[in-house]
Amino acid sequence: MDEDTIKKIFAQAFEISEEEVTDEIAYNSYQPWDSLKHLQLVSMLEEELCIEFEMDDIIDMSSYKKVREIVLKYLQKK
């Protein structure tokens, strides 16, 4: 459920379908993922999931796989 929600938010942020969201999508290689989109993604995740990221974790979100891992860590702490 949590992983599905994370994927859904990620897909909404990048305006793509959930099927297109894969672990291989990465900040350095996925052209639409720039610094502004990164902050939009972070804000959407925080708002929808009622969490607040530490700055180091925001910087560590370098791929969809890392985003999912970091978000799940926060959700487990709730």
């Binding site: 610094s35 502004l36 902050l39 939009q40 972070v42 804000s43 708002e47 700055m55 910087i59």
Partner: protein, 136 residues
């Protein structure tokens, strides 16, 4: 004013550009969290006092990004968006404040930051020059 006679400057530059339309539909009401992640209250007051805030928000964003890039190549402190404030006093070009308890007076005395911001109807661009004064 710090005496730089016994110090040498280390220079670094950064640049950034963004499409203004990415900020066109951003509002204080519906994008509170995003705006507060990027901008200070003073920056938001300044930009949203404009008839069209988008070019101002975009220009400030570019300036911050340019400063972050310049800092990263100095391999010094990592800066984040809320720690950088772009100030428009109406007298000359934009100025930069570095905000945050982690920044000591000593650090702030050793840093100079110069920026320039420009935009067309579609695009905003900014460059930043960071000067870090080091002991000889």
């Amino acid at each position: 004013m710090t005496n730089n006679n016994h110090r040498v400057p280390q220079f670094s530059i950064g640049i950034d550009m963004e499409l203004i339309d990415r900020f066109e539909n951003v509002s204080l009401e519906s994008h509170t969290r995003l705006l507060n992640r990027i901008f200070s209250a003073r920056e938001l007051n300044y930009c949203f006092s404009k008839v069209n805030p988008a070019p101002c928000l975009c220009g400030c964003f570019c300036a911050k990004e340019a400063i972050i890039k310049a800092f990263s190549s100095l391999h010094h402190s990592r800066l984040s968006f809320p720690e950088i404030e772009i100030v428009h006093d109406g007298k000359s070009g934009p100025k930069v404040n570095i905000i945050g308890e982690k920044f000591t007076t000593d650090f702030l005395d050793n840093i100079e930051i110069k920026i320039s911001i420009a935009h067309t109807a579609q695009v905003a661009v900014s460059n930043a020059l960071v000067i870090l004064w080091c002991d000889r």
